[in-house]
Symmetry: C2
Subunit: 208 residues, 2 copies
C-alpha cells in the first residue's frame, strides 16, 4: 500500500485528487494539507508517507521552500511536484532541490498513477515533455554557466528598458567604461554575440 500526502492550497484540487487516487487499490491517502507549514508539521508528527504530491505555489511556505527544508531530513519520503508551471526553469529548480518527479496540473489520470508507482519503486518520474523543457533550460544555461553579479543585473535591467550605455552611466554615477565592461562581461557569461541576443537569452533565463 502506497501512503500518500497531498499538499495544495486549493481544497477542490485536493478533494479531486483524493477521490481519484483512492479509486486505485494500491494507494492510500494518509494526509491532505493546505500549506507548507501544515505539511512540515505532519511529517514531523505523524507516520511518514511514501510520497508527497507537492504543489509549488502555496502561500507563505511554497513548494520550493518545502523541498529546501526537507532536504536530507525525511530521506524515505519522495516528492512529486505538481504545478501549473510548464517552465524549464521551475522544473530544473525542482530537480535541483531534490524532487523525484514533476507533473503538470493537466496530467491525465493514468499518467498520475504511473508516476506514483514508479517513484514509489525508487525511480524518478519525468515524462518526455518535462524532460524536453529541462533540456531546453540546460541548453540555455550552457556549459559554464555563471550567475550575474548584482551590478550586472542592475545594468541588464536598464539595458532591457532601452537605455544607452551613456544613460546608464549617468543613472548609476559611474563611468561609461564601467558600464561597457559590465555589458561585455554579461555577454561573455551568457555566451551571446550582441545586445539583442543578450536580452533574448536573459529573458528566457528569467534574469529580467
Amino acid at each position: 500500500m502506497i501512503n500518500i500526502i497531498i499538499a495544495d492550497d486549493h481544497q477542490l484540487f485536493r478533494d479531486g485528487m483524493k477521490a481519484l487516487i483512492s479509486s486505485q487499490p494500491d494507494f492510500l491517502i494518509i494526509g491532505s494539507v493546505g500549506t507548507g507549514q501544515e505539511l512540515m508539521d505532519a511529517l514531523e508528527r505523524d507516520t511518514l508517507p511514501d510520497i508527497v504530491l507537492l504543489d509549488l505555489s502555496m502561500p507563505v511556505m511554497d513548494g520550493f521552500e518545502v523541498l529546501r527544508q526537507v532536504k536530507g531530513k525525511f530521506r524515505s519520503v519522495r516528492f512529486i511536484v505538481i504545478s501549473m508551471h510548464e517552465d524549464g526553469i521551475y522544473i530544473s529548480k525542482c530537480v535541483r532541490s531534490g524532487a523525484h518527479g514533476y507533473l503538470l496540473k493537466n496530467t491525465d489520470n493514468e499518467e498520475l498513477f504511473t508516476a506514483l508507482r514508479r517513484v514509489y519503486s525508487g525511480e524518478k518520474y519525468f515524462n518526455d515533455e518535462i524532460k524536453e523543457l529541462m533540456i531546453q533550460n540546460l541548453a540555455l544555461e550552457g556549459n559554464d554557466y555563471r550567475p550575474l553579479t548584482d551590478r550586472e543585473s542592475e545594468v541588464l535591467q536598464h539595458v532591457s528598458q532601452g537605455k544607452t550605455t551613456k544613460e546608464i552611466a549617468s543613472i548609476l554615477f559611474v563611468s561609461i567604461r564601467t558600464v561597457e565592461t559590465h555589458r561585455a562581461n554579461m555577454m561573455k557569461k551568457l555566451d551571446v554575440q550582441n545586445t539583442a541576443e543578450l536580452i533574448s537569452k536573459a529573458t528566457q533565463l528569467r534574469l529580467i
Copy 2:
C-alpha cells in the same frame, strides 16, 4: 437554476468541478464534455446552457477556436474561460474573442461561485489580478498598436538570435538598407528606443 456545461479535456478536472458546483443549490450541470467539437455538438443539439466553463487548451479545437465559432451564434450562452495561463496576452485574446469571464485554474471555490452568479446576471467577471494582467498587456501594446508584417517578423526573429543587419541582409538576399528600414519600422511600431527595448517588448508581446 443556472444551467452549466463544463468543457475540459481532463475528466478529473470536470468531475471535481461538477462535484463542487453541484454542491450549490442554484447550479445545475447539464453537460460535461472533453473536446471543443463535443461542446459545439452539444450546443447545436441540446438545450442551451446559461454558462459554459471553457478550458483553453483542449486538443484539436481549443478554447479560442470555440469562442471564434460561437461568436454571434449562441447569443444567450455566456462563456467563462478557465485556464492555467496567467498571461495578459491570453486574457486579452479571450476578452476580444467574447469571453464573459476569465478564471485561473487555481481559483478558490467561493470565487468560482461568485463568478458564475455574476456572469449569469449579465455582468462580466474578471478579478483584480486578471484585470491587472490585462492592463499590463494593453499598456504594452500602447496607443496605436499595429501588428508587424511577415517580413518584419522574419527580421525580428533573426535580430533576436543575435544576428547583425549585415548577416540578416545576406541570409534574406536583400540590401543592408532594406533590413535597416525594417528595423526602423518595427521600432516605430512598438514605440521603442533601440534594439534592446525592441527585443524586450517583442518578447513580452509574444512576437518572438
